[in-house]
Symmetry: C2
Subunit: 376 residues, 2 copies
């Protein structure tokens, strides 16, 4: 059991806040922050901004310069040990003369996975792991899920009335939730590696499925310029090849991946449109997740109708259910949240557990995870 | 503008906590607490337990004895000025030599309504009103609604899954929520003056619609013995006279009121069964509320299916929507929360505002009020 001081907690908290600044831009890399402290003084701070650019430790070492010698480094993820697009950070810390490294958690990336810590200890550097690990885990839940399982972290978003309705009987749904909830959706989309939707949605609404900088919450706009905006990949389930080049999706240059089990010519589509052809299988959604993991999608944000939502839930592919609840009643004739056709008794209900509730204007944002423990 | 000291707040808070002890037993009277303070020492405390028994001020004056002379009284409701089943408390405070009275709020009872305060000021006693008024208002929202409008305060309770479902398609609903939520329902029933349900529910489930002491939350069982248990009146909508003397409702001695617009012989029913015959009208539910107000029902707790819930909501008769939300998904084939047949566009949605959220085990208890302000 490692013990940490209150001061250690303060520095790691700072490193986590730095790491968070990268959460809109680092995919497929994790968001990492680093603080260097020498004789009780912060001598360097850094966070990772973008794949291919410097890691958090390098940024912090640059700021510290000669002051890194004898310092303690607080890093939100185990320093890397491999040559990727940048040299290994563990070596950088050794070379700079850091004497102790505190990491929030180990990096499950098979290229690292404890080897960063071994490099440090081999060099005689003291290291400790596990400080504020839960927060570090949450921040990179997408990257960590992909490293551990090869699949993205799946976030299913729904916006509903208090009585669980997502649209009127005629499909009218603009808007059930208020402005703050919709701005939050933009922020969640901006953090996601990819957005998943269906050809049914494309045909019905012809959406862009992008992040609109103007609609982001003010807090996000304060740290993040429009030029830095990274657009998520748009993944569209299109088994019957109904999406056409004229759809507005293609008016934006971020990638569009059309998913089906049959081949399709993309000759008439722009170059940023690709096909994901899955092999014939009854587990198409699970296969898709594996393919998206291969394509380095850390987090998949899903905005879907009741059919896809139900299929994902029945296939147990959802890691996080994000439900925005508006204080309205729409009545039983309005459209429901999810179709679960295989469920007929209460004992078979799909079980979840509350992670958090937040008030956004008049609406609530609730986050649930699949239940893993027995109900109380 | 009256100003109160921090010490005043402490004493009034104590008086409110005393008042709360009466909330299971005082109906049709309000719950009232009183604290008497002399030279910074609490010399008397009291709360009203039951209609016909001593009022809070009398209890506190008894405890204080001679020490009441020169004391300040903190009362959660304006002292009464009329001879009811007990003599006027304002006179009691005057006679005991109290020098100042701080009331949380005025009593809207037309027999009081400021006259208690006038009696005090005519006797040369300083008085102040409005300290922690919002809490005092909440505590007696049933009594206050009836005094102001002649109708009970209507609480519509629903227990649903995360996707707004109250039962499986086949009607199975035992249990969607967990034990703590169900214990809370028992506590809410115990506070209510009456419970409203329908003959459809009686025919389907043959319920007792009573308060079961064993199932009350531990906190309530700690202050409240089984012998003190007051059972709410059970009011059953029974337009077609389908409720029979053999139903379990009648196995308990608390009153059952059967509501219809046509006369019915109750010869075969026990003596604690009465008929409420409403005149023919298209506003039967509103007429029922007026009749229940006449019958001194302060709070009406409603456990109903989607049809009655929808009718109450459409008639704007609900003061408080209490929704227990279980972390489960039941799917679109399951039964919905409320039928709102007159609603077809989003602009017509029934609008609410969140009052509070509480976690009860795995479930959430949310309370909403009808929206009175413009949505933000």
């Amino acid at each position: 059991m490692m013990t940490f001081t209150a001061q250690d907690v303060v520095y790691m908290q700072m490193a986590l806040e730095l790491a968070e600044k990268g959460q809109f831009t680092t995919t497929p890399n994790p968001s990492v922050g680093c603080v260097l402290v020498k004789d009780g003084i912060i001598v360097g701070r850094g966070f990772h901004v973008k794949a291919g650019e410097a890691h958090a430790e390098v940024m912090a070492l640059r700021e510290a310069g000669e002051n890194a010698r004898g310092a303690t480094a607080y890093v939100t993820l185990e320093p890397c040990s491999h040559f990727g697009r940048t040299p290994p950070c563990a070596q950088g810390l050794i070379d700079a003369g850091v004497v102790k490294v505190v990491s929030a958690m180990c990096d499950p990336n098979p290229q690292v996975a404890g080897r960063g810590l071994s490099m440090l200890s081999d060099a005689g550097i003291e290291s400790a792991v596990g400080l504020l690990a839960e927060k570090a885990e949450w921040l990179n839940r997408g990257f960590l899920k992909r490293m551990r399982t090869g699949r993205p972290y799946v976030q299913l978003k729904m916006a509903m009335s208090l009585d669980g309705r997502t649209a009127m009987a005629n499909g009218e749904s603009k808007w059930i939730t208020g402005e703050l909830a919709r701005a939050d959706v933009q922020a969640e989309r901006a953090k996601a590696s990819a957005i998943l939707s269906t050809s049914a949605t494309v045909l019905a609404d012809d959406p862009l499925l992008n992040v609109r900088w103007q609609q982001l919450p003010d807090k996000v706009k304060a740290d993040y310029t429009q030029a830095q905006l990274r657009q998520p990949v748009r993944v569209i389930l299109d088994s019957q090849h109904r999406v056409q080049p004229s759809h507005r999706l293609f008016s934006l240059s971020s990638p569009v991946w059309l998913v089906s089990q049959t081949a399709r010519s993309l000759l008439e589509f722009p170059a940023h449109c690709e096909q994901i052809q899955l092999s014939a299988s009854t587990n198409a959604l699970a296969d898709l997740m594996a393919e998206l993991g291969q394509r380095q999608i850390n987090t998949l944000w899903i905005e879907a109708g009741a059919t896809l939502a139900g299929a994902l839930i029945e296939a147990k592919l959802v890691d996080e259910l994000i439900i925005y609840i508006a204080p309205k009643l729409l009545g039983d004739a309005a459209r429901g949240l999810c179709k679960l056709p295989h469920l007929s008794t209460l004992a078979e209900a799909s079980l979840w557990q509350l992670h958090s509730i937040e008030k956004l204007g008049d609406d609530l944002k609730t986050i649930y995870h699949p239940r893993i423990t027995e109900p109380t």
